[in-house]
């Protein structure tokens, strides 16, 4: 019996082949449209009474809240455990310290404005309005960031004996292969929902353009895969299509649409000179409110206000505030003495911590540009997962490229266990499969294992649907005058926009309470 394909199945299949853009277009074609929602930056009322706010953590959420509240008459102090502000927004340059618990490192890149590495966030999509507005307001200059480069490589040991292929070849040939098969098998009877003969014809036309099929619905190659030779004095010659069955052996299919996802699609941006220009922008305004090297040890929520005890220079200091905005990573907060309600405390240990890992290499030559790669990402199914090529400093002699960025916690742990020199060795051996001779360009490197970084011990909180349902409201709801914040208390963990959303949510609540209490200027 032939299995019927539902509209939903078709969308999933189209998505796997064509990416989310295809899904969107197909959804439009079938009369399904998505909804859009925005969270806004709150306009706080100016206080006419004294209110002291302690903010625990000078990462993006803490700095955002400090900036907003201090402008409206709140007395703000930010306590930061580390020797630096910024949280996971961290850019390293010549001489910077990488404060990993077991393996502290120093960045030995040359002193040069283009030679830096964004260890945490590194790109901003155009719909991250809050962050983009702050960039504008704080004078943080932005430049295009290249996330998706079809001339970059795809490498997987499971296909073509591990030999890399250009991303555009993989994408074009696999779409052609699948579109041809689909167009051959389409009949009105194949759909669960009623489809007319005309509907099916329209879909076949759609597949023809999706897969670059010829008039007889066969895939015989496409210039989208790149020409065999770029010699413009002679007629174009198409590349011979890659073996479709071989392409399907690779799990690259699962990440092929990465550059089309909501947060990753062009046009992406990055601050000129490094992502830490964002916290630097905040600190130009409110740096005097931030006290570094102050590690919180105890939080006591009281009937009015909150008491916080922290360690500074080996001594314990206690401070009291009307409000506490707490951006400490939950998994660390769980080890701090507190009097939170049992259910809230249980939530702190319920969300697994992220174990993302990155390597940055200073390369003595921008060899990738000789391969026609200017910015973007090569993907591999090896541990290192990604190679990023800088879009800034094109045509200069040297560049800092990303030599590993793992999403898989097992790969993150595998690297983190090794001493930095061995991490580099492993990353170089894997990079060699994409760029033969890769290791010979490496001058020096940095590695950042977020789950071993001092005062962090984790990357983005690893929420899932079930955890969100069970814990999110509990953790987002203030305990007395204590608010938990950070990207960890957002539906967008791992993004600065999520951190800002959590800050906006908390300060809007404080603002509403102060307005209700009549403590604001009329």
């Amino acid at each position: 019996m032939k299995r019927a394909v539902s509209r939903r199945d078709f969308l999933h299949l189209a998505g796997a082949v064509g990416g989310s853009t295809t899904v969107f277009r197909a959804a439009v074609a079938l009369g399904l449209l998505p909804a859009v929602a925005h969270a806004e930056r709150p306009e706080l009322a100016t206080l006419n009474k004294t209110r002291k706010v302690l903010i625990l953590g000078a990462g993006i959420s803490g700095l955002t809240a400090a900036y907003e509240l201090s402008r409206k008459g709140y007395e703000v102090q930010v306590l930061e455990a580390s020797f630096r502000a910024g949280g996971r927004n961290m850019t390293v340059r010549n001489g910077d310290r990488i404060d990993e618990t077991g393996y502290p490192q120093v960045c030995n890149f040359d002193k040069d404005p283009d030679l830096y590495f964004n260890c945490g966030p590194a790109r901003i999509p155009g719909h991250h309005k809050a962050l983009l507005n702050y960039c504008k307001e704080l004078g943080v200059e932005l430049a295009p960031f290249i996330n998706d480069n079809r001339l970059a490589w795809v490498q997987d040991d499971a296909m073509f004996g591990g030999k890399p292929v250009r991303a555009r070849e993989y994408m074009t040939d696999s779409r052609g292969f699948v579109a041809e098969l689909m167009s051959k098998s389409l009949t009105p009877a194949a759909f669960a929902a009623p489809m007319t003969k005309e509907d099916v014809e329209r879909l076949r036309e759609y597949l023809k353009y999706l897969g670059s099929l010829d008039p007889s619905f066969k895939y015989t190659g496409s210039s989208n895969a790149g020409l065999a030779v770029h010699d413009y004095t002679s007629p174009d010659v198409l590349k011979k299509p890659l073996d479709g069955r071989e392409l399907l052996k690779s799990k690259f299919m699962e990440i092929m649409s990465f550059g089309e996802t909501d947060d990753q699609a062009a046009m992406m941006m990055e601050p000129v000179g490094g992502m830490d220009r964002v916290p630097a922008g905040f600190l130009r305004k409110i740096g005097h409110l931030v006290q570094l090297e102050s590690q919180v040890q105890k939080i006591n929520v009281q009937s009015k206000g909150v008491e916080v005890t922290y360690r500074r220079n080996g001594a314990y200091v206690t401070a009291k505030a009307d409000y506490v905005l707490n951006c400490i990573p939950m998994h660390l907060l769980a080890g701090i003495e507190h009097n939170f309600p049992k259910e809230f405390a249980a939530g702190l240990t319920a969300i697994p911590r992220g174990k993302l890992f990155k390597i940055g290499f200073q390369m003595k030559e921008r060899f990738w540009e000789k391969e026609g790669i200017y910015g973007g990402i090569s993907w591999t199914l090896q541990d290192i997962q990604q190679l990023w090529y800088p879009a800034h400093g094109i045509n200069r002699q040297k560049g800092v490229m990303l030599g590993a960025y793992t999403f898989d916690p097992n790969a993150g742990e595998k690297f983190a266990r090794l001493a930095p020199a061995d991490r580099f060795k492993l990353a170089i051996a894997q990079g060699e499969k994409i760029h033969p001779g890769y290791g010979s360009y490496v001058e020096t490197g940095v590695s950042v294992a977020w789950h071993q970084m001092n005062h962090m011990l984790g990357c983005a909180a690893q929420w899932d649907e079930e955890l969100w349902k069970k814990w999110f409201k509990t953790l987002q709801t203030p305990v007395g005058n204590h608010y938990l914040m950070g990207d960890q208390v957002s539906y967008h963990p791992g993004w600065q926009e999520g951190a800002m959303a959590s800050a906006h949510h908390a300060i809007a609540d404080i603002d509403a309470r102060e307005r209700a209490a009549g403590s604001v200027a009329a």
Partner: protein
């Protein structure tokens, strides 16, 4: 720990502080092991305060040498390994142990529940070294078990059984423990014996 590298200029940062004073040096322990090193289940770091200095020192040495924390499945051990190595190579191991001794030890809230009566029967095999009240016995290098992180005791018993601890030839005391723990028949036995240890004062 000694801060080996002062922050260099590069592009100027208004917010980067210089070297940290020595008195903050052991705050690293509190990062993972929580306030007063009373443990943090959130990142599976056990309570250290109240631990015997000789036991702490030995375990740090084991982590430093790789006699503990190296098997592939011991993910928590992997995180401690480099820290052990660091305190050893930087000469701060003794200072770290002393620092833990200054902290205020609190009895952790129990997280493991089991058949206490069954656990008591099984504990008969532990008494000789760890004492009837779980108070430990330095003369046989057996640490106290009472008022420890109970989930951690359970994890370590399981680690001994699975060969994630006590298999390295340099860890002779660990090997003894591994031999004894192998007499606990199953996971329930581990839970029950820890539930009994929770009652010891």
């Amino acid at each position: 720990m000694k801060r080996r590298n002062a922050v260099a200029a590069g592009i100027a940062f208004v917010f980067i502080a210089g070297a940290v004073s020595a008195s903050n040096d052991y705050d690293y322990c509190l990062l993972c092991h929580g306030a007063n090193a009373n443990g943090n289940y959130g990142i599976r770091a056990p309570k250290l305060s109240g631990m015997e200095p000789w036991y702490l020192a030995r375990q740090l040495e084991n982590f430093a040498s790789g006699a503990r924390g190296t098997p592939a499945e011991d993910t928590a051990g992997h995180e401690m390994g480099p820290v052990g190595l660091r305190v050893k190579t930087e000469g701060t191991l003794e200072g770290a142990v002393k620092f833990i001794g200054t902290l205020e030890s609190r009895r952790p809230a129990p997280t493991v529940t089991g058949d206490v009566a069954h656990g008591k029967a099984l504990y008969a095999g532990c008494v000789a070294c760890h004492g009837p009240k779980g108070e430990g016995n330095p003369s046989v290098q057996a640490p106290a078990l009472a008022a420890r992180s109970d989930w951690y005791l359970a994890t370590q018993l399981a680690n001994y059984q699975k060969g994630l601890r006590g298999t390295d030839p340099r860890d002779t005391y660990g090997a003894q423990m591994r031999a004894i723990v192998s007499t606990l028949p199953d996971e329930k036995a581990i839970v029950d014996v820890v539930a009994y240890i929770n009652t010891l004062k």
